[in-house]
């Protein structure tokens, strides 16, 4: 472990903005995709055959 403190961890040696944007955006996209598929399935399953 190379991090002395939580602040140091967030700073990522000065590259915090780039590192956390990358990981944050990836997490957001993946969670959003799961929710979108979930809602799509609920919508498709509940729709009546007209």
């Amino acid at each position: 472990m190379q991090w002395g403190s939580l602040t140091e961890f967030w700073a990522m040696g000065g590259y915090g903005l780039y590192v956390w944007t990358s990981f944050g955006a990836s997490a957001l996209c993946m969670v959003w995709e799961v929710l979108a598929v979930w809602r799509r399935h609920a919508a498709a399953a509940s729709r009546d055959v007209s």
Partner: protein, 253 residues
């Protein structure tokens, strides 16, 4: 297939595949969560700081898996599309349809995280380098395939047209992969190769591979879930009903 005691062809019918996919999704989701969790732990707490790039290099743990998945999913999607064209098999087209949005998302993430890595290391968010440009074209291909399908009302035509597009576009994948070798690019060369020993510390490679495996499991889970949506949506088409008239079929498509 009889030697396994299971009739695998049974699952090539959408009605049988739907519940099977439902049973498989939790396992792949759990595997994805565990692998991504372990990958992040190794990537942030075990892997050392890079002596050249500092901690900015840690973007590799999401950038490389996303880029690999973007190419891998394209090849898989094109393979299903080709199988669909060859066998005129509807479920194969449905698999291709289910994979496309996930592939597009990973392509977008590869470009975004690459730009986040490019700024601190190259000093530019974007350059018109062979690797970056060909990956951007891959994103346009995914978007094109999704839009082409959406723009054709006739399901069979939509299946075939997007399958042909996917198959023709597969030529871009080796171009992306070998771009760093064929052209003199700003993008760094392959970090891992089958023939040479990795150019990084073992813990870094481990974190990258575990993350890739996690993204792979995630892709399978989300593709199966989307496949179920596609099956239900297509079942709702009156054409699937027993007594649908030609008029109803025409209206549905």
């Amino acid at each position: 297939m009889s030697f396994t005691g299971i009739n695998w062809f049974k699952y090539s019918s959408p009605q049988a595949f739907h519940p099977l996919a439902g049973r498989m999704i939790p396992w792949f989701s759990a595997a994805a969560l565990v692998l991504i969790g372990v990958g992040l732990y190794i990537g942030f707490f075990v892997a050392p700081t890079d002596f050249q790039q500092g901690d900015a290099y840690r973007i590799i743990f999401v950038h490389v898996p996303a880029a690999w998945m973007s190419m891998f999913l394209y090849v898989i999607m094109a393979a299903w599309a080709g199988l669909g064209l060859g066998l005129n098999a509807r479920p194969s087209f449905m698999m291709a349809q289910a994979i496309a949005p996930t592939g597009a998302m990973f392509t977008f993430l590869a470009l975004l995280t690459g730009s986040m890595w490019g700024k601190p290391t190259w000093g530019a968010w974007w350059v018109w380098d062979a690797r970056l440009t060909s990956e951007l074209i891959l994103l346009f291909q995914y978007i094109g395939i999704i839009l082409l399908r959406a723009s054709i009302d006739d399901l069979r035509r939509a299946d075939r047209a997007s399958a042909v597009f996917a198959l023709v576009g597969v030529v871009n994948v080796p171009i992306i992969y070998f771009s760093v070798r064929w052209w003199n690019t700003l993008h760094q060369g392959a970090s891992v190769s089958m023939t040479a020993s990795p150019k990084m510390a073992a813990t870094m490679v481990t974190a990258m591979l575990v993350m890739t495996l996690g993204f792979w499991m995630y892709s399978i889970a989300v593709t199966l879930a989307r496949m179920r949506c596609v099956i239900v949506e297509r079942e709702r088409q009156p054409a699937w009903g027993k007594n649908a008239s030609i008029q109803e079929v025409a209206e549905a498509r």
